[in-house]
């Protein structure tokens, strides 16, 4: 049976190094680039001639954009709409990277199954929150770590815990997405292996894991969408802290 971890292997396509760092163009980079091209096609076609009564493609773009705007309006308020393009960029990048790894037969790769990429995404959210927080509230932003009405004698403890939880946000964001994508893909690969090994024993026996894999594929597609949504939702909730300070 093939090693279920093999699918996550980074393979260099075009070697490149700068200043002692290995910056090679890899299969991960390739599929991120394909994601970018798919998103570009979607957006450039959808917004080519924006009309009051939208066509199909414009309606599709509007549906997604409205979804993000509504999320920001609900979690951050009117002020949050300024960040809609950035949250949209994060959402659609995660969504397309999640989904593009589900394309069969073309040796596709899921860039978001790697913690380096998901950590990069999480750092964008973290840095955005810090910059917006200090820009809007200055040093008052630190009051985020001391919830209102905290008794004085537990204040240091609460502040320490809040600060740690604030610092851990990019890690939890990154690990949640990476772990979800990795676990689902491993599971699919394992059951794919079962199809071969059980099918070799008896062709009828191989049907069972194949059926499971069909169901897992549907589940993985769902997870791909839900995790993109969760990532964008958490980003907007964190953004709310920076914009409104609780």
């Amino acid at each position: 049976m093939a090693n279920p971890m093999e699918q996550f292997k980074i393979e260099t396509i075009a070697p490149l190094s700068a200043g002692g760092f290995d910056l090679s163009f890899t299969n991960s980079s390739l599929w991120m680039l394909i994601s970018l091209l798919a998103i570009s096609a979607f957006l450039f076609i959808g917004t080519a001639r924006p009309q009051l009564v939208p066509g199909r493609m414009q309606a599709a773009v509007e549906l997604l954009y409205d979804f993000i705007r509504d999320m920001l309006r609900e979690n951050v308020g009117k002020d949050g709409l300024r960040y809609a393009p950035l949250i949209f960029a994060i959402f659609i990048f995660v969504l397309s990277c999640n989904l593009i790894g589900m394309v069969p037969f073309v040796h596709s790769f899921t860039p978001t199954s790697h913690i380096a990429v998901t950590f990069g995404l999480a750092m964008i959210v973290f840095v955005l929150v810090v910059i917006v927080g200090f820009a809007r509230h200055g040093l008052h932003f630190f009051s985020l770590f001391l919830p209102e009405g905290t008794p004085l004698f537990v204040a240091p403890l609460v502040a320490a815990i809040e600060f740690l939880s604030f610092l851990s946000r990019p890690f939890t964001l990154a690990i949640r997405l990476f772990a979800n994508m990795t676990a689902g893909h491993v599971l699919m690969k394992v059951f794919g292996g079962f199809v071969v090994s059980l099918g070799a024993v008896n062709i009828g026996l191989g049907i069972i894991p194949l059926g499971v894999n069909v169901a897992l594929t549907a589940l993985e597609l769902l997870i791909a969408v839900v995790q993109a949504y969760v990532f964008a939702l958490l980003a907007s909730i964190y953004l709310n802290d920076a914009v409104n300070l609780h």
Binding site: I10, E62, L86, F93, A116
Partner: protein
């Protein structure tokens, strides 16, 4: 797990940075705000259309109320006219009836008077006839000559 191989982190983060920067500044920035503007324009358009529809509905309601009031006034006026006409007609009919009744009464009275006159004259004629017949009968049966005047006197005596 290949995910925890730090040797690949540099290239992944580098290409992620490049591609995400392209995504945000080259793809999202020039396209998405256009759609946002259209969505906002549509929202204001729909809101103003709704306002206009509301105003139109208000004026339509006012017109309907006006129309209903006019209809009611006209109906009331027509009813009043009809009632007046009916009353006048009834009064005229009453007067005519009274006149006719009076005429009939007078006719009946004169008829009754002439009837009474006829009856008296008839009765007078009857008495003389009776007296004549009686005197004739008495003369034939008893052979006594009695004049009708005697018979009349005898009848008047009884």
């Amino acid at each position: 797990m290949p995910q925890f191989d730090p040797a690949t982190f540099g290239s992944q983060l580098f290409w992620f940075g490049v591609i995400f920067t392209l995504l945000y500044f080259v793809v999202i920035r020039p396209t998405l705000p256009k759609v946002g503007k259209v969505i906002d324009a549509r929202e204001t358009q729909v809101a103003s259309d709704l306002d206009r529809a509301e105003a139109a509905k208000g004026s339509a309601d006012a017109l309907r109320a006006e129309h209903e009031a006019a209809m009611k006034a006209a109906r009331d006026a027509a009813q009043a006219t009809v009632a007046q006409a009916r009353e006048a007609a009834a009064k005229a009919a009453d007067l005519q009836l009274k006149a006719v009744t009076a005429g009939l009464d007078a006719d009946a009275e004169t008829a009754a008077a002439s009837l009474a006159l006829a009856m008296t004259s008839a009765r007078a004629g009857l008495e003389s006839t009776v007296a004549e017949l009686t005197s004739e009968a008495v003369a034939r049966l008893a052979g006594i000559a009695v004049t009708p005047a005697d018979v009349s006197a005898a009848l008047a005596q009884n």
